[in-house]
């Protein structure tokens, strides 16, 4: 199995030479279609990792390749979602989700001509995340959880091969969060997308991911890697099994060591 995301010995610092080192000799590889989670203490450079992989930042040392090609600029095959849904309040939910298509080729060229087909596609995606028929609503008419679902749709509408999630559920209450875990699980199961989830929430990582990477405190480095063996599709019941608890404890211990070292 060849790696889809290949991060090789990457070091990146902010503020030029002698600045704060965000990640240090980071190496990890993620297979195509895999759901990877990266967990670590605050300020371990998880967000830097996001920016590096999507090509928003260029690493100062080492190399990053996605889909077999070296990342040299913004990656158009990636979708992104963040803790803040950051939907545009002057656009309806539907128009918000169409936004990437107004930017990314070849959709950008086709959008005007084949608008009907694209709208049907958005509506299908909305139905998949449980927002059927809500496309005409404005984001501020939706609850926080619904906004985050719409934000996921926006990240997926251009059918990216790589989905980067930066703590997308951190601002939600725990019930909504678990609902969205299931939404995320189903979205992943329904399409051949590779997902990298950056999170603080160890249960979230253990429930969703195929593999969990633990990062150390700044400068960020991978200190442990755990394969999550629970069969898919997983139900939330999994999270109440002793095996799951053991895994979360294990991850927690890794993070604790990382924090002490800092």
């Amino acid at each position: 199995m060849t790696a889809f995301v290949e991060i090789d010995n990457v070091t990146h610092a902010y503020g030029g030479d002698g600045g704060v080192i965000a990640v240090d000799r980071l190496t990890l590889s993620i297979a195509e279609g895999e759901f990877a989670a990266v967990v670590g203490p605050s300020g371990c450079g998880k967000s830097t990792l996001m920016k590096l992989v999507t090509g928003l930042q260029r690493p100062q040392a080492g190399s990053i390749a996605v889909g077999g090609a070296k990342v040299a600029g913004p990656l158009k095959i990636a979708g992104m979602a963040f803790q803040a849904p950051s939907l545009l309040p002057w656009r309806t939910t539907l128009d918000n989700i169409l936004l990437p298509l107004e930017i990314v080729q070849p959709h950008r060229k086709r959008l005007r001509r084949e608008r009907g087909a694209y709208i049907a596609k958005v509506e299908a995606l909305l139905a998949q995340v449980g927002l059927a028929g809500l496309g005409a609503k404005y984001p501020w008419e939706l609850s926080g959880g619904m906004q985050q679902r719409a934000s996921l749709c926006r990240a997926l509408i251009h059918e990216p091969r790589l989905l980067m999630l930066d703590e997308p559920f951190a601002a939600l209450d725990s019930f909504t969060r678990e609902e969205l875990w299931c939404v995320m699980r189903d979205l992943h199961a329904a399409r051949p997308v590779t997902i990298v989830l950056v999170t603080h929430d160890l249960r979230e990582a253990a429930f969703l991911a195929d593999r969990v990477f633990c990062m150390s405190a700044r400068p960020g480095r991978i200190i442990a890697e755990r394969r999550v063996a629970f069969p898919r599709p997983r139900s939330l019941e999994v999270t109440y099994t002793p095996e799951f608890t053991d895994l979360v404890h294990d991850l927690r211990a890794q993070i604790a060591t990382a924090r002490q070292a800092a």
């Binding site: 913004p74 963040f82 803040a84 309040p89």
Partner: protein, 259 residues
């Protein structure tokens, strides 16, 4: 029952207070026998308004178009400069002292130069209206553009959006509420600017009418002109607010969400 009565009181209050204000004014003028050339009573001002209605209307029209012209130039110029400032940090930092310094000059001090350059006519009032009102527009548009959420910018950049895409799809619509907030300030300033310049740099406009009427000691006409200015000012302001309501309804969602 009491809630209904309170609502009635709220509706009636503006009328009652306005009528009471003018009634008190009228009573004071009659009671203390205040001379007309010092403070004319509302009834005298009303008489003057009727007598000079054509002049008042004629000059109001000139004040209106000169204000709107100056304001329009300020909007176009302010938006363009605001976009330049919001889009480029270097332009922003570089022009800051010039802009702040220019804004600090009371614009009435610029009028003599405008007369020197353009002579007495319609240009000085339009220019003064423009110069006095563009600054808040520039600042607000620039603020709207420079406060785009970084995550959103990342999303767009990661999709391969060019700077222009981000500006058109996010920056400009996002800065609309900021723009309209500044327009309400700017239109009032433009109005002040044109009236100031009219008073000695133009043969038309309410400002000029006031200058001439006060030279003639026609105090009732001066006051009638002031009332005309107040009415015109309210109309212009209300038009701007209405335009804002139509353009940026999404930004006032606290009300819209319930209704």
């Amino acid at each position: 029952m009491t809630a209904g009565r309170q609502r009635l009181a709220m509706t009636a209050a503006p009328y009652v207070f306005t009528v009471a204000f003018f009634a008190l004014w009228e009573a004071a003028c009659r009671l203390f026998k205040i001379p007309q050339y010092f403070l004319p009573a509302p009834s005298v001002i009303a008489q003057a308004s009727l007598e000079y209605w054509w002049q008042l209307l004629f000059h109001s029209f000139h004040t209106l178009w000169m204000t709107v012209a100056g304001f329009a130039i300020a909007v176009v110029f302010g938006i363009l400069l605001g976009i330049a400032l919001g889009a480029s940090r270097i332009v922003n930092a570089g022009t800051q002292p010039l802009l702040v310094g220019f804004n600090a000059i009371p614009k009435v001090a610029v009028v003599p130069i405008l007369i020197l350059w353009f002579g007495v006519g319609w240009i000085p009032p339009v220019m003064t209206a423009f110069l006095i009102s563009f600054f808040p527009i520039v600042v607000n548009v620039a603020t709207g553009l420079s406060t785009i959420e970084p995550e959103l910018e990342d999303v767009m950049k990661a999709l391969g959006a060019r700077k222009w895409d981000i500006l058109v799809k996010i920056g400009i619509p996002r800065s609309m509420p900021y723009l309209f907030a500044s327009l309400k300030v700017a239109i009032t300033l433009a109005y002040v600017g044109s009236v100031i310049a009219e008073s000695n740099a133009s043969r038309y406009g309410i400002g000029n009418l006031i200058t001439r009427a006060s030279a003639d000691f026609n105090v009732p006409l001066v006051f009638a002109a002031l009332i005309a200015l107040a009415i015109l000012g309210v109309i212009i302001y209300a038009a701007t607010v209405e335009l804002e309501r139509r353009m940026t309804g999404w930004a006032h969602r606290s009300g819209a969400g319930q209704g």
